[in-house]
Subunit: 307 residues, 5 copies
C-alpha cells in the first residue's frame, strides 16, 4: 500500500504510538476515493442502537440488512465503516479486508434512563473482527462523564498496545448544558480538546454553532476577537483545540435533513475550516442507495476541492 | 548527573523509598536552572482539561500546540513539565529525555456535575512515556474525597514499586467549605498534611490566606499564637504540616493575573516561608513566550535569592 | 527474644493463627517496659488525618516531625507505634527494627462529608515498611459500617496470610446513636464484640460510660444485675465481650485533657477491669516531651501495679 | 480495498477463521503487483539469523540496512515482507502500512548445536509492529519437532484469536532423513501436510525432487502411478497434500544461484503445478537492487502467465 | 537535559521504541564526558560472578566495595555502570540518580558445569533500583543458546514496555567453536547481528581478530574482498552487521593487560572503525584508582578524537 507524503506527515503527529497503530491509521487514511489526501469520510451506523430500527432504517428498508452498509461504504469509496458489535459480526466475514472497520464499543439507546452508554464490545472483539479501530463515545457534562472517561482509558490503553486506532465521539450533554449549549462553539471545542487529552487518535464532534455557552468562557472569546461568523471559522477553532491540528478531527453530518445543498454547504465549510473530514450516517443510509452514492460522491469532491 | 549535597539531603528524607523513586526525584531536582538548589519550578498544563482550550490558550495561540509547552519548560530551564495523557503523547517522542515529565493521571473539567475527577492515565502509560512521576489530584472535603484517596493509594503503590515519584495536588473543596475556606490557612495546611499522610513525595497546594475556616481549629491557632500576618509566615506553617519539611511542598501560581510584580511578591513570600518552589501554569503559557520566559527567569532568580 | 509464660498463654488464645501472626504479636507483647507482662501501651498518631496538623501538633510543635513520634514511643518504652502510611514512610528506615509498628490502613478527616474512612495503605505497604500489624477502623452504626467490615475482611485475610497482626479500632457512630450512645456500655461492648467476631487480634474501644443506649438491651442489662457503677466494672464487661478475654482489648486515652490525675484514674480502672492496656495519643504527643515521658512512665507503673 | 473474486474464493477456504485473520490474509493477497490474482511473492529476510550477516549481505552491502528490504519489497510490488523481530523493529515505523509484514517468531543459526530454533518474538510484538501474520518454522523429523509443534500451537492459537495469519515454514530434517530425503517428494508433501494439520494458513516448503525417501511410502507412490517426472507434477502433489488446495502453499527460491533462467524455470514449474507463489530471499537481496527488481518483475510476470 | 542533534539522530534509529526507552537511552548517551557525542564508555562489574572475588578484586582491594565502582564510573565521567543485582542493591540508594545503571540480569561463574547463565534479576528489580537498562548475555554456539535467546525475548519485551533499554552481551562459545573461533571476525559479526535481530538496543561484542572461523563463510569473505587487515576495518564490518549502524555497538576492553598503550591502540581502532564505544571492566577496576582514572580519561580523549 503506497503511503502518500501527506499521510506520512499526519502519521508523524502520532509520535508516541507504535507502528501497529500507525499502520491501522494508514489503512484508514489510504482507503477509498479520498485515500492519501489526508481527508476522510466515515460511515457510522449506530443509529439502530441510538434511535431504534424503524427510525433508523424504515425510510430505506434495505438498510435493515447489515450487509447493505458495508456495501454502501465500499461502493461510495469511503475510508471506513463504524458500527456496534452485532452489526459488524453480521458482515465482517463477507467483507473481510474490503474496508477498514471501526468497532463502536459503547452505545446508548432511546429507552435509557441515564445519560450513559453501555459497553457492548471489547478490544478482543475488534481484533477477531479485523477492525482497524475502536470507537467510544463520551458525554462531557453528563453525570456519567467521569465513568465514561475511565472506561475509555482502560479500553484505549489495551487498544493502543494491540496496534489499534482509538476514535472518540465527544458529545457534550448533561445538566450544565441546555440544547443550544450542546453544539455551542466553546463546548464543542472543549469536548474535542478533552478527547484529545484523553488520548484519542481521531476525534468526532458536531459542527459548532456561534453560541458561546459557558459564562466563564464568554470573556475569553470576546477578548480573543475570534471570528465565529462562519462555520469554517468555527471549525478552524475546533482544529486548534485538537492540538493545533496534531490530532485528526472529523464532524458529524448533523441532524437528518432532506436538503442536500444545505449539507454540501456544511461540508464546504468543514473543508475550508481545515476539518479532516466527515462521519455521516443518517443522511446517507436513510436515502435510496443511488441518491446516497451521488451525495457521497459530491461530498468527496468537495473534500477534493473539486466542488 | 552530579547530585548536590542539598539534593542528597532532600532525598534522605524519602527514607522508605526505593532507589528508583529517588533517582527520578533526583532527575527532577537536578534539572534546569534551579537544578541542585533544592528549589523547583514546574510547568503544569492541565488547564485545557479544567477550563477548556480557549480559556487556556486563546490568550497566546501558539500554546494550542503541545510541543509549545515542552519547549517553554525547556527554554525556561524549569525542573519538570506536567500534563495529561494526550498532551504528553503528542510530544514525548520529540522531547524524549529533554525534561522530566509528570503524567497527570486524573482531571476534572468545567462541565463536571460532581466534585470528582476522571482517571485518564495509568502507571504503565507513565513508564512507556518515560515520565519521572505521576500526578494526582485529591479534593479533601468533597463527597468524592475518600474515593479519590483510594484511587491515589492504588496508583501510588504501583508507581512507587516502579520507581516513579508521586505528586499530589491537594485542593480542598466541598460542602464543608465556602470559597474563603478553600484557601484558608488551616484548610491549606490540613490538605497538605493529608497528602503527606497518603504518601505523596511532592505536595502541591494553593498559597494560603490568613482565614481560619474550621471552628474547631480556631482555638488552636489562637492558642498557638501562630503569626499569620504574612504569606511567608503562613507558608512556614504549611511546610510544618508537610512533616516539618520532610516532604517537598510547592505552591500554585494562583489565579491568572496580569500583574507580574504582584506575582513576584507572592514568590518571594513562598521562598521566605521555606516553600520548595512553584508550579505555575496559566501565568506563564498565557503570556507571549518572551514575556513568559522573562517572568520565569525572574521567578528563578527569586528562588536563587538574587531578586 | 525470650517469651514469657504470660505472653505464651495469650498467644495460645490465637489458636487458629499462623506462627507468623503469633511471632508479630509476640514482638508487640514483649517490647518495652511492659514487655512480657501481657499489658501493652501503644502510641497512635493518626490525629493529623482526623483533626488536621495544627490541632494535632501546634500544642507541641516538635511533634510535626514524624521522627518525633518514633522517638517518643521508643524512649517511653511503649509496645508499639501506630500511624498512617506517610507518617511511617517518613521514619521506617531510620527506626527500622527499633519498635513494632502498626500501619493504620484507613483514616477519616474533619472535612469528610460521610461517616466513612479512606483506605490509604495496603498489606504490601505494611510488609515493605516492616510493620508488625495493620490497623483498621470500623464505625458500627454508620451507613458505611458494612462496607468497612467488608474492606476489613479483605485486608485482614491478606494480613493474616502474611503473618501480620490485625488491630481494629471499633468506634460506634451513626444515625442510630446519639452522642451519649457512642460511649454507652452496651454499645461499647457490642462494638468490641463485633471487632472480635470480624477476626481482630487486638481490639481498641473507648472507655464506656454507664449509659445503656439500645432499648432492646436495657432489659437484659437490668435482668443480669450487671454492676456498671465503676469504669473497672464496665471494662470487665467489655473484656467479657471480647471472647471472655481471649482477645486483647485496649482502650483509648479519651478526649484531650490537661488533668493528668484524672487520666491516671481512668488507667487504674482499666487495669482493674482487666483491660490489656491503653492506646494513648493526643494526651501524650501534645504535651512537652518531658511531661509526656513522665506521664507514660506513670501509666506503665499503673499497669505494672506499682502506682 | 477491493477484494477480487479469486481472493474471496481463497478466503472461503479458511472457513473456521475469524474475519480478522481473513482481513489480514486479504491484505497479503491483495497487495502488490500480484494483488488479487491469488498468487503471491514474499520477501523473507531471516538469512542473517540462519547464515550470518556476511554470507547474507556481503554480496550486496546495501542489504545490511533493514530499510533496504522494506524498500525492495515495496518497489518490487511484492505481497509481504517477513523478518525476525529486530529487523522489523528497525523499519516498522518508517514503513508503517506500506506493506504487509510477517514477524518470523523463531530462528536457528549456523552455530546451533541442535536442530531446533529459538523463539525470539511474540504475538504481542506482531500486533505492536502492525504485522499481518506471524511466521514459524518447524523441522519435521528433528528430535525437537514435537516441541516446535507445541510452541507453534500456542502461538498460533494466540495469533488466530488476535486476527493474525499463521505462516509455517515446514523444513524436514533430522536423524530419519539424509540430505536427499530433506527435499524428497514424499517428505515434502508430508511436511506440507503436517503444517496444514497443525493449523497453518500459509505453508512454505522447498521445491521437491523426484526422490521418494521413506521405504514405507515407496509402494504407495508406485501403486498410485503418480507422475513425478516434472517439478510441476510434483508441486501438484504437494498442493494435494495441502488439503487439495484449501491451504495456500508457497515454495522457497532454493539455494542461492547465479543462473536466473534456471530460477525462472523453477517458477514456471511452480506456477504450472498450482503453487500459490514463492518466498524468495537470497536470490533477490543478494543481487544488486536493479537486478533483483528485474528478476522479481519477471517472476511476477511468470505467475501472471505472461512469461 | 539538553539532547544534542547527534544523539537525537541515534534515537531516531530506534523508531519502533516508546518514548520511555528513548528517554533512558538519551540518559545514557548524554551522561558523562562523552555525553552528547554519540560515543559511550560503560563500566561493567560482573567479573566477581564470572571469575570470583579474588581474581576480580585482589589486584586492587578497594574494589571489593560496591561503592568503589559507582564512584569510579562517576569520577571518570563514564556513561553508565553495569552490574548484577547485589552489586547495584549495595549502592543504588547512595548513588541514586548519579549515573545511569544497567542491571545485568544473568551471569555465569567459574564453577559452572554448562555454558549457560543464571538469571539473577528481573525487570521489576531494574525499575525499583532506578536502572536505565537491563543487560543480558547470550552465548551463540552454546547448547543453551536457544534457551538464552528465549529468556532474553521475555525479559526484553517486558523491559521495552516499561521504557527500559536492552543491552545484550553476545559472546560466542560452544562445541562449534574453538578458542580462535570465539573472536573470529565472521563469528563476532554474526553474534552482533543475532543480538540486533533479537531486538537489542545496545550490543556488546569482543574486538574481532582477522580469523574467519566458519568454512561456509570463508568463500563469502574472500569474494567480498573484505579488508580485515586492521582492527578498525574489522570493526567497520561489525558495525555493518549491526543494521548498518542503526544499532549501537560497543566493544569489551579485552583480556586483562598491563600494557596501557596496547589498550589505547585498540580503542583508536574501535573509534576509527566506527564503534559507538567501549565497555571496559577489568582493565580499569583492577588498577589503582588514580591509574584507572588516568586511563579512562585517555580513552575518552581518544573517542573525542583528541588522542
Amino acid at each position: 500500500m503506497r503511503i502518500t507524503q501527506r499521510v506520512k506527515k499526519i502519521l508523524d503527529n502520532y509520535e508516541s504510538d507504535n507502528p501497529g497503530t500507525k499502520s491501522n491509521l494508514a489503512r484508514i487514511l489510504m482507503e477509498g476515493k479520498l485515500g492519501g489526501s489526508g481527508k476522510l469520510v466515515i460511515l457510522p451506523v449506530d443509529q439502530g442502537f441510538e434511535h431504534g430500527p424503524a427510525r433508523s432504517f424504515a425510510p430505506n428498508p434495505p438498510a435493515y440488512d447489515p450487509h447493505y452498509h458495508f456495501q454502501l461504504a465500499i461502493e461510495a469509496g469511503l475510508n471506513a465503516y463504524a458500527a456496534p458489535l452485532g452489526m459488524l459480526e453480521a458482515g465482517a466475514n463477507t467483507f473481510a479486508g474490503a474496508i477498514p472497520t471501526i468497532l463502536k464499543l459503547n452505545s446508548s439507546n432511546s429507552l435509557a434512563t441515564t445519560k450513559d452508554q453501555a459497553v457492548t464490545g471489547s478490544v478482543a472483539d475488534a481484533l477477531r473482527l479485523g477492525c482497524a479501530a475502536i470507537g467510544f463515545t463520551i458525554y462531557p457534562g453528563s453525570e456519567y462523564a467521569f465513568d465514561q472517561m475511565e472506561e475509555l482509558r482502560e479500553l484505549a490503553e489495551e487498544a493502543k498496545a494491540a496496534g489499534l486506532v482509538v476514535v472518540v465521539w465527544s458529545y457534550p450533554r448533561g445538566p450544565m448544558l441546555d440544547k443550544a449549549g450542546e453544539t455551542a462553539l466553546d463546548i464543542c471545542a472543549y469536548a474535542a480538546h478533552m478527547a484529545a487529552l484523553a488520548g484519542a487518535h481521531i476525534i468526532k464532534v458536531k459542527p459548532p454553532t456561534a453560541v458561546i455557552s459557558l459564562d466563564a468562557a464568554k470573556k475569553t472569546y470576546e477578548k480573543a476577537h475570534l471570528d465565529t461568523s462562519t462555520l469554517a471559522k468555527r471549525v478552524e477553532h475546533v482544529v486548534q483545540a485538537c492540538f493545533q491540528g496534531r490530532r485528526i478531527v472529523i464532524f458529524s453530518g448533523g441532524e437528518a435533513t432532506s436538503d442536500d445543498d444545505a449539507l454540501f454547504d456544511v461540508i464546504r465549510n468543514l473543508r475550508d475550516g481545515g476539518a479532516n473530514g466527515s462521519i455521516i450516517g443518517r443522511n446517507t443510509f436513510q436515502r435510496p442507495k443511488e441518491h446516497a452514492l451521488a451525495m457521497l460522491a459530491k461530498i468527496i469532491e468537495i473534500y477534493q476541492g473539486k466542488a
